[in-house]
């Protein structure tokens, strides 16, 4: 057993889980509180990558790009929420799915118009480039550690925000019973704008910090989005804790699966069968996981509590 490879892949899985968590956290908040199925969340991921990446290229500093991306995504998120999404809150989920589907087409095309079809290459910031030794003969890229650290900081920040602040209490109240919260004087429209803006920032952050590794591309948000939906369904809609657990589990299983499934399959399949089945099954692995979890717990691991 190659423990070095195992550890590296575990860390890669953890890092993928972090990216998923940043997407899923915003998505689960928006769905849990506003009861809005928002397919265009993936577009926020993409826009964060392109806008933040452009700022980074223009200013020559990746860090500045990340910092300025936050207010940019906040503004963009709030504008999208106030213009396009507000009309969708009272609608049923089908309408929301369709309308936000239309928004995806619009955002993808707008991005293509502004930045061209080739996407954007955002270079790794120099001070984060390089490999670090973690002991036991394990080396790991500094940048990926950066991603993990950022993600954990955000997770901790969200935990504080939702659990310990007044805004967090309003968010939880809104998630638990929107009508009552409104009746009790909570400014629901403003709360929704804030929540959506927060979600957009988180998605944009995820999109931006992954670009030095994968490049910014049109439609990059959609595949991550579907995974993020799988995550929040597994984790339980409205639960940030559930999103965190499910994201990490999903990321780790997906990555380890892709690396090691053919090894596992070799234990009970002939070599060439394992070799061709390996990649096929590993790409399906998390969906099989999701189906299994939902078969036994249709409401997810941390189901929403309380009246809606």
């Amino acid at each position: 057993m190659d423990y070095v490879l195992l550890t590296e892949q575990f860390l890669n899985g953890f890092q993928l889980g972090i990216i998923l968590f940043l997407m899923a956290a915003g998505l689960t908040l928006v769905f849990g509180i506003m009861d809005l199925v928002n397919l265009a969340h993936g577009s926020m991921f993409m826009i964060g990558a392109f806008v933040g990446g452009t700022i980074a290229l223009l200013t020559g500093s990746f860090v500045v790009g990340v910092i300025l991306m936050v207010p940019a995504m906040l503004v963009i998120g709030v504008v999208v929420e106030m213009t396009a999404l507000r009309t969708l809150y009272p609608r049923d989920h089908l309408d929301q799915v369709l309308a936000t589907f239309g928004l995806i087409l619009f955002f993808n095309e707008a991005t293509r118009l502004i930045w061209g079809p080739e996407g954007l290459v955002v270079p790794l910031p120099a001070f984060l480039d390089g490999i670090v030794s973690l002991g036991f003969g394990i080396t790991y890229p500094v940048y990926r550690i950066f991603i993990i650290v950022i993600g954990l900081l955000v997770a901790f920040g969200l935990y504080l925000l939702v659990g310990k602040t007044r805004i967090g209490m309003l968010i939880r109240a809104g998630a638990s019973n929107r009508t009552m919260a409104g009746v009790l004087g909570v400014n629901i429209p403003k709360l929704f704008s804030i929540v959506f803006g927060l979600g957009a920032v988180l998605a944009g952050l995820a999109g931006l910090i992954i670009t030095p590794i994968t490049q910014a591309a049109i439609g990059m948000g959609e595949d991550v989005l579907i995974l993020a939906f799988v995550v929040i369904v597994i984790g339980g809609i409205g639960s940030i804790r559930g999103a965190f657990v499910a994201s990490i589990v999903t990321g780790v299983i997906d990555t380890l699966g892709r690396s090691f499934l053919d090894v596992v399959l070799l234990l009970f399949l002939p070599a060439n069968a394992a070799e061709s089945a390996g990649p096929a099954v590993s790409s399906m692995l998390i969906y099989i996981l999701m189906a299994a979890i939902l078969f036994f717990r249709p409401q997810g691991l941390f189901p929403p509590k309380g009246a809606r």
Binding site: D95, F101, G102, L105, E109, I226, V233, A280
Partner: protein, 325 residues
């Protein structure tokens, strides 16, 4: 006969039905008229639209009438198509083997996916159907033997072994698709009016009440899901034959979204809505794509506006106008 004549005349007073009739007439006459106008290209265009129409009819069955929003229904296009493609790849070109296997496999997958998904409802259902479809999509992408994301060419169309009837003849291919389109609408019609269809529609209207009159709706929904899967599988095998090509993209989630769109655009829970919806959706795409390569920037907002303001689709819009006048 006279009674049907009168009913037809009555139906044609609704502009929505006139539009439907127009679309059907276009479909019926294209292989004759188009070559005469030197626009043979339209034969393929409308053949494609009709295939989408069949798939849309299957979506309407479970979504329009049943209220089940499956965001992964295009996967059955892929299963139907790839079955034909893979069998042909291995030298099995007889339609008598390919088609039943394709339909049976579509039904089997729908049974498994439906059994899992129908245990949930609402947005959970939407997401699970999406994710399960993605699973098959990724499976086909990783299947290098069968072309992975470049797709798989099919060298020969399905062979019925009957002299005089060959799908290699363009007109025969076209009218076979047309026949299946009419058949799928007919089946949809009989199902909806039947006892089975009534349970499905009632479960959409008020699921708890269905339970409390003694009907466990799950098994009926699952049956509907399987029927819709098989119908869409038929669309898939027809597409494989028409294009002589299958690829993972025929079942990506955007396709599923487009199918749902066509049904809404035409008018949900109307018999011909999915057909007119497919027609308008695809014709509009063609026209807009002709104007600018950035046509999505117009099309996207158009879809949003339809959802916001024309929820009853074309059927709803045209019927309402008639009632106002």
């Amino acid at each position: 006969m006279q009674k049907y004549g009168r009913r037809l005349m009555g139906a044609l007073r609704n502009p929505a039905n006139v539009f439907t009739a127009l679309v059907l007439v276009i479909f019926a006459l294209t292989p004759i008229v188009a070559p005469a106008l030197d626009e043979s290209f339209y034969v393929i265009v409308f053949a494609r639209i009709m295939i989408w129409g069949i798939a849309a009819v299957s979506v309407n069955l479970i979504m329009g009438y049943g209220g089940l929003i499956s965001f992964g229904h295009a996967v059955y296009l892929g299963i139907g198509g790839y079955t034909v493609g893979i069998l042909a790849f291995h030298g099995v070109t007889s339609a008598w083997i390919q088609w039943p296997v394709a339909i049976g496999l579509s039904g089997l997958v729908a049974l498994i996916f439906g059994a899992i998904s129908l245990r949930t409802k609402g947005v959970y259902f939407i997401m699970i159907t999406l994710a399960l479809a993605q699973m098959i999509f990724f499976l086909s992408v990783s299947a290098e033997r069968y072309g992975s994301d470049d797709g798989l060419s099919i060298l020969a169309r399905s062979d019925f072994g009957v002299s005089g009837f060959s799908l290699n003849d363009k007109t025969t291919m076209y009218y076979t698709i047309f026949a299946f389109l009419l058949a799928s609408v007919f089946v949809s019609w009989r199902l909806v009016q039947s006892r089975f269809g009534t349970v499905i529609r009632a479960a959409k209207s008020n699921d708890p009440r269905v339970q409390s009159i003694g009907v466990a709706a799950y098994r009926y929904r699952l049956t509907a899901f399987v029927i819709a899967g098989m119908m869409c599988g038929i669309a898939g095998l027809l597409q494989a034959n028409l294009e002589s090509f299958v690829s993972p993209d025929m079942m990506n989630w955007q396709r599923s979204g487009e199918l749902i769109f066509m049904v809404v655009l035409g008018g949900m829970s109307t018999l011909f809505g999915p057909v007119t919806g497919a027609f308008v959706f695809l014709m509009l795409s063609e026209i807009l794509a002709g104007w600018t390569i950035h046509w999505h920037i117009i099309f996207g907002p158009f879809l949003v506006l339809v959802v916001l303001f024309a929820r009853g689709g074309i059927a709803g819009l045209l019927t309402r106008r008639a009632e106002r006048d």
